[in-house]
């Protein structure tokens, strides 16, 4: 702009402000306290650590959601462009670099859940004929375990999971490495880098969707081997976008108390991300309801029990609250365009969204198990869901904050950077 009115200059220090260290300390404290409580509850519950392991799966899925949801959102913003993408690029990169911790969190799920068969009945009763004879599983379960043995066996589980981690780790490494190289290689080469990232991200997004569909089936859906839904993986993909957007906005709002985000995070981009949240809220509900409506209409005995397990025996209350937390509250609040521009209120909506994601996962995971199926009841073990996932996510956050400090918060070699410094009325 020829006229310098309202124009801003790039802050000198682009590194994360010092209070990120305070965040990390707090996250670690919360993590340790909740982990200790969860372990005590594990001893008290007297169910051979079964609920502990279920809650671990829950917390692990939350961390996986944040880490690799960030990866796919990072790739999507390279493809879509836009100033909102530039402003969240570095926070998203920091989230993806937490993958070693996520892999570490997966190991108990794989070792105890699958190899020792504590979570997955297809692993526990791989010898389905014997289990059926002893009355440990139903006819339907036996049939499903037998029929799906080609996919649902411990070897395939490990091979697929580790292969997924290997491919995703490769992508995370490339995205992070090239991003630094790009910043060090200015002007004439900008189009070269843009094309390079687009090529990486285009195929990467597709590949990620395929890999995620698989792991969602292995890790969560196969807890009940009798049921299947073709939209299941897609629901997880959308839920990842939902959770990660909320977390990114919270991070930016938190960082915007100090430079450089104070200058760089404008109302326009905040509003844009609020709108994206709104879109994901709708898409999430659309998929969840579509899947329910189709199965309800079909009313087939192969499909409907999965929903009955999650509605009867007071689970209906949880399902209704899930709709309220997941859709009704964020939807009605995000309808307002004014709210999306107010940092404090948008932050509250984002917290509700992350909580709703955890609530939904609980509703997806717990009713798979015989003691909880169609029977919502209080047990000490149930409290694990309120403690262990908090601990795991807190540890993950601490690692994320460490990574956030590793790089400047703004990627500088991008044409959008100049636009972020322009007054907000300069562009349509």
């Amino acid at each position: 702009m020829a006229n310098g009115y309202h124009a801003k200059t790039l802050p000198k220090d682009l590194n994360a402000p010092a209070f990120v260290d305070v965040w990390r300390t707090r996250a670690l404290t919360v993590g340790v306290v909740f982990l200790v409580i969860a372990i005590i509850l594990g001893f008290l519950s007297g169910d051979a650590w079964n609920h502990f392991l279920r809650a671990w799966l829950h917390g692990y899925m939350m961390c996986f959601n944040f880490c690799f949801g960030a990866m796919v959102l990072l790739m999507v913003q390279y493809l879509s462009g836009g100033k909102w993408g530039l402003i969240i690029r570095r926070p998203l990169e920091a989230m993806t670099r937490t993958w070693p911790l996520v892999l570490l969190l997966f190991l108990p799920v794989g070792i105890f859940g699958a190899s020792f068969g504590k979570l997955y009945i297809w692993a526990k009763y791989a010898d389905w004929a014997k289990a059926l004879k002893n009355g440990l599983i139903t006819n339907e379960q036996a049939h499903a375990i037998h029929f799906k043995h080609g996919i649902l066996n411990v070897t395939s589980f490990w091979v697929y999971s580790l292969l997924t981690f290997a491919i995703l780790a490769l992508y995370v490494t490339l995205l992070n490495k090239w991003s630094l190289k790009r910043d060090a290689d200015p002007e004439p080469n900008v189009p070269y880098w843009r094309t390079k990232f687009e090529n990486l991200s285009g195929f990467g997004t597709l590949l990620y969707a395929i890999l995620l569909f698989g792991v969602a089936i292995y890790w969560v859906m196969s807890l009940d081997p009798t049921w299947y839904s073709t939209v299941y993986g897609f629901q997880f993909l959308v839920a990842e976008g939902y959770g990660v957007l909320a977390l990114s906005i919270l991070t930016l709002i938190g960082l915007s108390r100090a430079e450089p985000m104070k200058t760089m995070f404008r109302g326009t981009e905040q509003h844009d991300m609020g709108k994206l949240c709104f879109a994901f809220t709708m898409l999430n509900m659309y998929l969840a309801f579509a899947s329910f409506l189709i199965i309800w209409s079909g009313n087939s005995p192969e499909e409907i029990p999965w929903y009955l397990d999650r509605i009867r025996g007071n689970w209906g209350v949880i399902a209704t609250l899930d709709v309220i937390f997941h859709w009704l509250i964020p939807f009605t609040l995000l309808l307002s365009s004014g709210l999306k521009r107010i940092k404090k209120r948008l932050a509250v909506v984002c917290c509700i969204m992350i909580f709703a994601r955890a609530w939904d996962l609980w509703w997806l995971i717990e009713p798979n198990f015989p003691d909880a199926r169609r029977n919502l009841h209080f047990s000490v073990g149930m409290l694990e869901y309120a403690t262990l996932p908090v601990a795991l996510v807190a540890f993950w956050l601490a690692y994320f904050f460490t990574q956030l400090k590793q790089r400047p918060l703004i990627a500088t070699n991008d044409p959008h950077l100049v636009e972020l410094l322009e007054p907000e009325h300069a562009h349509a």
């Binding site: 006229n3 009115y5 309202h6 409506l293 309808l335 007054p423 907000e424 009325h425 300069a426």
Partner: protein, 180 residues
């Protein structure tokens, strides 16, 4: 109604949105209220600068959406429960999951139409005559690359000579007097 005559207002022309916003903010601070900005594309800050904080389109849209969802859901309930009850695979007559999709479609339809027509109505459209089109530079530039601020003559603070020199202080391309 007698035909209106005389000056409609003073029209200042700017090359950039920044200049327009600066002039509009200053005019508002100087006490002018009856004025408007004209830009080739939406410039939110210009609207804010002249004290235009909130519009009612979102409210109209919300009311439209609520009407849509209520109308369709009631219609479906009435048909299925009272008017023509059908036993479909033993399901209850009031099968709300099946009602959701059409009710949702009507919400979107009503909300969309209310937003579009509400926006036109609140903008005072269709309007067959507007004095600003008497200014040739407005006709040529307002929809392509020029940014205009018009201080209207019915503003209590409006004085032809004083307002003109005030506007000229912001280095506009031109300031022209527009007749009714």
């Amino acid at each position: 109604m007698p035909e209106r005559e005389g000056t409609y207002g003073l029209l200042a022309e700017f090359d950039t949105p920044s200049q327009l916003v600066r002039a509009a903010e200053n005019a508002y601070a100087a006490g002018y209220r009856r004025m408007d900005c004209y830009t080739p594309y939406p410039v939110e800050e210009a609207a804010e600068a002249i004290g235009f904080h909130k519009n009612e389109v979102s409210l109209v849209c919300l009311i439209g959406g609520m009407l849509g969802v209520t109308a369709m859901f009631s219609l479906e309930t009435w048909i299925s429960v009272w008017s023509y009850p059908l036993n479909i695979a033993g399901r209850p007559y009031f099968s709300w999951p099946a009602f959701v999709v059409p009710a949702y479609e009507w919400t979107i339809l009503f909300a969309g139409l209310s937003a579009a027509f509400g926006m036109l109505a609140l903008n005072g459209l269709p309007q067959v005559y507007h004095p600003l089109f008497n200014a040739p530079n407005f006709r040529n530039g307002a929809t392509s690359d020029k940014f205009f601020l018009c201080v209207e003559a019915n503003d209590p603070k409006f004085e032809p000579a004083e307002t003109r020199s005030f506007l000229e202080g912001f280095a506009p391309v031109s300031v022209v007097e527009v007749e009714y």
